[in-house]
């Protein structure tokens, strides 16, 4: 039986198809989830994709966080299901308080679109176990509100507990505190990052195939935990 990975589509999601394609390329079964449907259709993990859910009105992710599907995602995430939030999905996870801190407008005010080098700081999450700690990867980054901020106490806590999962290398593209590109929750099952691994899964369209490891990791996690 293949592992079922749900990908939520909100009105304004852009990268849901790429995320589903990445799941399929990794060998999983992508399952399209709809924002108004509370039913998660027995998926084993969920990806919240990039885009501009609900037009980014009010704040990025603020309205998506209260959608019917998120009630179920939040409940399952608290129960341990692996959840990955990419870009707008990361913003939704912060607005949902599944992850601490917030994402604010890039400090230079420009939209960024570039291939970004990252260091994998934590290779123990269900989404990163196919990487090595300290490994460098390059995946696309595209955002206008990607500056990760949190108070000093929260940042110290994230650092000391190994919950900074990815850090920007070379340049800090958006003013994120401590060059943080992605973090995880206390339990380690919920991961959010601004860069886009789902756009780096095929040589034809991506700068690398470095992003595929996210999706193979979560499949492996499921096989291991059910072995």
């Amino acid at each position: 039986m293949t592992t079922r990975i749900g990908v939520v589509t909100f009105p304004g999601s852009l990268d849901d198809r790429d995320a589903r394609r990445a799941v399929a390329l990794a060998g999983g079964e992508p399952v399209a989830l709809w924002h108004r449907d509370r039913d998660l259709h027995q998926v084993d993990a969920v990806v919240l994709p990039g885009g501009f859910s609900y037009g980014d009105y009010l704040r990025c992710g603020a309205i998506a966080r209260f959608s019917p599907v998120m009630e179920s995602v939040i409940g399952q995430a608290r129960a341990g299901m692996p959840v990955l939030g990419i870009c707008n999905g990361f913003q939704v996870l912060c607005e949902s308080h599944l992850l601490p801190g917030a994402l604010t407008r890039n400090d230079h005010l420009h939209f960024v679109c570039r291939d970004q080098r990252l260091r994998v700081e934590n290779a123990a999450t269900p989404w990163t176990r196919d990487y090595a700690a300290g490994e460098e990867i390059t995946v696309p980054l595209k955002n206008g509100e990607g500056g990760y901020i949190a108070d000093e106490r929260t940042l110290d806590e994230l650092e000391s507990e190994g919950r900074v999962v990815f850090r920007y290398l070379g340049v800090n593209p958006n003013g994120s505190h401590r060059d943080i590109a992605g973090i995880t929750n206390e339990a380690g099952n919920v991961v959010g990052l601004m860069p886009h691994p789902e756009h780096a899964v095929e040589p034809l369209t991506g700068p690398t195939t470095d992003g595929l490891g996210f999706f193979t990791s979560v499949l492996e996690n499921y096989l291991v935990s059910n072995a």
């Binding site: 704040r59 603020a62 917030a102 604010t104 407008r105 005010l109 500056g147 901020i149």
Partner: protein, 87 residues
């Protein structure tokens, strides 16, 4: 109908690049003497019923859970006098 106004501002310690961009444009436009600009949001809520303690408590909860992200923003709630009453 009663109007309740919710103002949402970034907390003082949070960088406000939009406010900074506005401030930087001021000298060029000939407006001097402005040391700092912070940009926020204003919500005008028209209540269906009277503005009593229960209604205001409801608005505060709405502001705290939805209109503001209290990780980065502060908010204030105030009742705006209707035009008829103040005339």
């Amino acid at each position: 109908m009663a109007r309740v106004v919710v103002d949402v501002m970034l907390k003082p310690e949070i960088l406000d690049p939009q406010g900074q961009a506005v401030q930087r444009a001021l000298p060029r436009l000939g407006f001097g003497g402005i040391a700092d600009v912070r940009q926020g949001k204003r919500f005008e809520l028209e209540l269906e019923g009277p503005v009593d303690d229960a209604a205001l408590a409801g608005v505060r909860e709405l502001a705290e859970t939805f209109l503001a992200n209290t990780v980065i923003e502060n908010f204030t709630v105030r009742v705006e006098e209707s035009e008829g009453a103040s005339a």
